[in-house]
Symmetry: C2
Subunit: 112 residues, 2 copies
Amino acid sequence: MKDQQCNFCRSDAPKLSAEQAQAEMRVIPDWVLVKDADALKLKREFSFVDFASALAFTNRMGAFAESIGHHPDLLTSWGKVEVVWYTHKIGGLQQGDFLSAIETELLYQREK
Amino acid sequence: MKDQQCNFCRSDAPKLSAEQAQAEMRVIPDWVLVKDADALKLKREFSFVDFASALAFTNRMGAFAESIGHHPDLLTSWGKVEVVWYTHKIGGLQQGDFLSAIETELLYQREK
């Protein structure tokens, strides 16, 4: 568990270059790589049948985030949740953000 | 209760003009009036001590939204929640959005 935590949230993890991040995108084809205030971020919108289902997913994401000590931005609105992963401390993406996006994908597929 | 619901979420409520909306802003001085994709919206960011407290507020907002049948956009991130009210159906603001913002303010003051 300690090792797994490390993979997600190492504060000393190297920041990926734009080229490295772009190459990693193949593992999460439904996500987009965006540049926001000079930081690269991973973004995907997930759809739900209503507000309550969207909020339930936000809470599952919240529990996951607390378990790994790394927190996404979660935009909850009627029938959708937009999830954004990046690492605030390094102002960009590290390997753990891709692992977090993959886990997000699994959480959605498993329980939607 | 039925009357109260009506105040918040009437789908036949008149859309406020930019001038009317601006005049209403005096009742919610900590909020900003923004234009997003041609729609006027009410926005405020609320601060919290950590992610869990922010997510708890998102859930209180969710319960309130479900109770009135009118749903804001809720951007939850570490230590903050950005709340955006507007009425999708009319592509802008109605009186109920201001009532919702006032209630949001009260929920934050009461339980932060």
